[in-house]
């Protein structure tokens, strides 16, 4: 939900307490080749439906979180601290 955002630490909070960064992609390793970096910085799946994105609880606990949010219904399926690595590191 983009009106109230479930922060894993603070519970439901209003959108204006957050800063939105966008797609929660995994940063390539230092030596990765240019195309991986280009993909990471510029290309987006931009799906209709489930989407993992970085939000920052700027006016709250100041933790970066990863929301799994539906881009059509705005429903949030999951919310976790960004420091807790996702189950698979594989890039989507």
């Amino acid at each position: 939900m983009a009106s109230l955002v479930p922060c894993p630490h603070c519970g439901q909070r209003p959108k204006e307490e957050f800063t939105i960064k966008g797609a929660a992609l995994t940063r390539p390793a230092a030596g990765a080749d240019a195309s991986d970096w280009f993909d990471y910085v510029y290309l987006r799946d931009n799906p209709r439906g489930a989407y993992e994105e970085y939000w920052h609880h700027t006016s709250g606990c100041r933790r970066w979180i990863v929301l799994t949010r539906d881009t059509v219904t705005h429903e949030v399926a999951a919310s976790r601290d960004a420091a807790d690595r996702p189950r698979s590191e594989a890039r989507t």
Partner: protein, 987 residues
Amino acid sequence: MSSYRLPKGGLVDRKAPLSFTFDGRPLQGFAGDTLASALLANGQMLVGRSFKYHRPRGILTSGAAEPNALVTIGRGGRTEPNTRATVQELYEGLAAQSQNRWPSLDFDIGALNGLLSPFLGAGFYYKTFMWPAPLWEKFYEPFIRKAAGLGKASYDPDPDSYEKSWAHCDLLVIGAGPTGLAAALTAGRAGARVLIVDEGSLPGGSLLSDSATIDGKPAADFARDTSAELQSMPNVRVMMRTTAFGWYDGNVFGAVERVQKHVRDPARHLPVERLWRIVARHALLATGAEERPLIFGGNDRPGVMMASAMRTYLNRYAVAPGQATAIFTTDDSGYALARDLEAARVDVVAIIDSRPSAGVDYRGKARLIREAVVCRTKGRKAISAIEVHRGGRAETIAIDALAMAGGFSPIIHLACHRGGKPTWSAEKVAFLAPSGLKDLDLAGAAAATTDLAACLAEGAAQAKAIVEEFGWSCPPIVLPKVEGTEGTHASKPLWSIPGVKGKAFVDFQNDVHLKDIGLAVREGYSHVELAKRYTTNGMATDQGKLSNVNAIGLIAKARGVSPAEVGTTTFRPFYTPVSFGALTGPHHGHQFQPVRKSPLHDWAKKHGAVFVETGLWYRSSWFPRNGERSWRESVDREVVNVRQNAGLCDVSMLGKIEISGSDAAEFLNRVYCNAFLKLPVGKARYGLMLREDGMIYDDGTTSRLEENRFFMTTTTAYAAGVMNHLEFCAQALWPELNVRLASSTDQWAQMAIAGPKARAILQKIVDEDISDAAFPFLAAKEVALFGGTLHGCLFRISFSGELAYELAVPAGYGESVADALMEAGKDHGIMPYGVEALSVLRIEKGHVTHNEINGTVVPADLGFGKMVSGTKPDFIGKAMLQREGLAAPDRAQLVGVVPLDPKQSFRSGSHILAKGAAAALENDEGYVTSSAYSPHVGSTIGLALVKRGPSRHGEEVVVWNGLHGESTPARLCNPVFLDPQNERLHV
């Protein structure tokens, strides 16, 4: 004849008369009246003129859907155009003006448009006014703009206040009619946190207009007693005069409470309106239903009214619509009205029922005409007769008021705000709320349940189910006994009426009539959205509350499909219009954004600082002194004094971040493009932070105070952004690093002490030895002050190019320390200097700020190419920095620029053209990023980003500023105008 007040009855307080005016005419009403009921009570049936044809219009409804009775109320900054007379509560001294008429409501020149109506059909303006082209803006459009619009807004500022508030509840009940009251009572008794909102001034909704009895007492009394019980419960909050206008994600509802819109002189300690954001675990829509008009010729004539509205005026406000009324009905609700009218001794001349038989057994005196329709009305500014068609026969009946009952549309607006599409029910002849809604249900008339007893039962049952779902146990529901009412069975849809004569209106306010809809379909605008946009049906201030379903019915008929196939246009917030004031709350004028104050603000103030907004901060720009005639004089003095003696500048608003942990150095090494791993303890270093795309993000100095403790400074503008960025790096990118970040911007009052005398002055208050040997350039450490009574941080860094220090002391002591420094520097000629002087000093020295770091430059563009580490395995921005375009030979890069003639000047934002080149975009070589008058150089100097700039030092160019008609011959040069060897830093 016209409408009038009945001698007795109603819920108005006859002991509390109220005077008000309409178009300046003094009138009387009672407490409990709306403006509309009071106007009708005074026989004022003509209240407005229509949008396009300026037809005389009366009061059609008794509520939020009113399309005709829009008036302007209030004066000066309290002027409110387009106020619906049907919802505006009457108050003593209310002054109402009719709209969209000239010279007067009674005689309106605009009515001539009616004669042109054959040429003013739907979309006519798309087909003409195109020749000759220039005339559109010079003639046609100004004329149309003047003719269009409704009320006139005031330009005066609003004297009243507004506020916002949050509310949380288990169950939000929207609508305090029978269904809502029953629901709130059930949930409240179970102990749930209940919030019930209603747009009206009294709880009860339709109960207030109903002649039925509940448990033997009048419906209105039942409403009063029920709300009294609700008010007495600590877990229930009843909010009247509150309209829920939107349903948003997270089951958040927007609502506006009209706290003081029903009083003449608002109390100062209260807002006039309050915006609510209501977070509800579950919501129940008990919003009732809207009665549909019928589409016959002259259905807009004053005296024609919705049947349900007529009943409300009669029963709630004791106002009779006229003396000889007729009722045109397609369902049984018309008969309840007939019964109530007759009970009030108002003559019902005829009931025209489109159906062969009614669902109720009518025993009244009125003549009953079945299988008949009204095809037109007669009269000028008020209805005088109707023409009734039955079979082939037409008959004219003289009347002075007509009620129309076209069936009911459930009010499902909010339920559709989150993308769900309404579904058509052929059985109910209505669009119902989308199915499968989450955390929201509908009950009562909003769910097409029409019978009063059934509504009470449904409200209670739904509430019970909801709170039991949440784990409360619900006491058994005892339903009250309802008498004196018949269920109104679904109407037989009557989209278009045979033999209609004259204009039959679909959208009253926008003057969209029957033929317009047909035309739109004929011309290919048959999709419901296209038809709406082409005819403007449903786009008026009532958002089609009365017109949309009828329009859909007509489109369906024209296309030969069912309304289900046509579908609706999109229901969008707001349910009823919401004022900017309410949406803004307290955040306007000076409160638009908070003020962030430096701990040295008052110190600067007492030295006469002129302040400037910098983000949320106020920074001191310069400190004028007696006899200085211009800001330039003051700034020049401050600059010269720094270069000759010493100055004190408040730099507290620089971002400050404490970075600690065993991986702090490694962390900094990754977030800066230059090396930080080996920065010695006690040293400061200038750092460049890139974005992942390789562009420079921000710069600043970072000092190593201890092995694992760093003190970072950022620019003022990017302080917040840098902190977010660092937290992202630490939490999301490299959570394995042991690093902790604490913003300490507000902890420190920070002062730049710059100039040849800086050391001598500072040494007087700093306990430690700060000689060049002991504390050289770029030294940084914690120091004791005043013999150990205070501790702070001292940095030997310089933005001005002079011997300079930055001293950070605990903010609460900032002013005191600044005073001490001014005292200590008195004999050394110390002066405060502001950001203007600071800017001159840094431009003279060729130091960049965000004027140059504009989000599109890489380090090499600003001469920092060598700073970028080639050895570090990784840092933010490293990979993208390798792209060919970012190393292209003709990139704009930093240079200095001076006018050839020192007497000439140029401004930032001017562009650079090669000498002799024509002023054309293809000759654009770059632009001036910063400029100032330099006392040191003796002329204006500038920094610029110019193609291949560094290789063009000495080249003559033109600084071009077409906006000001300036074209200044100038020379590109080294951006460092002063002390390129940095000797002054190291003294």
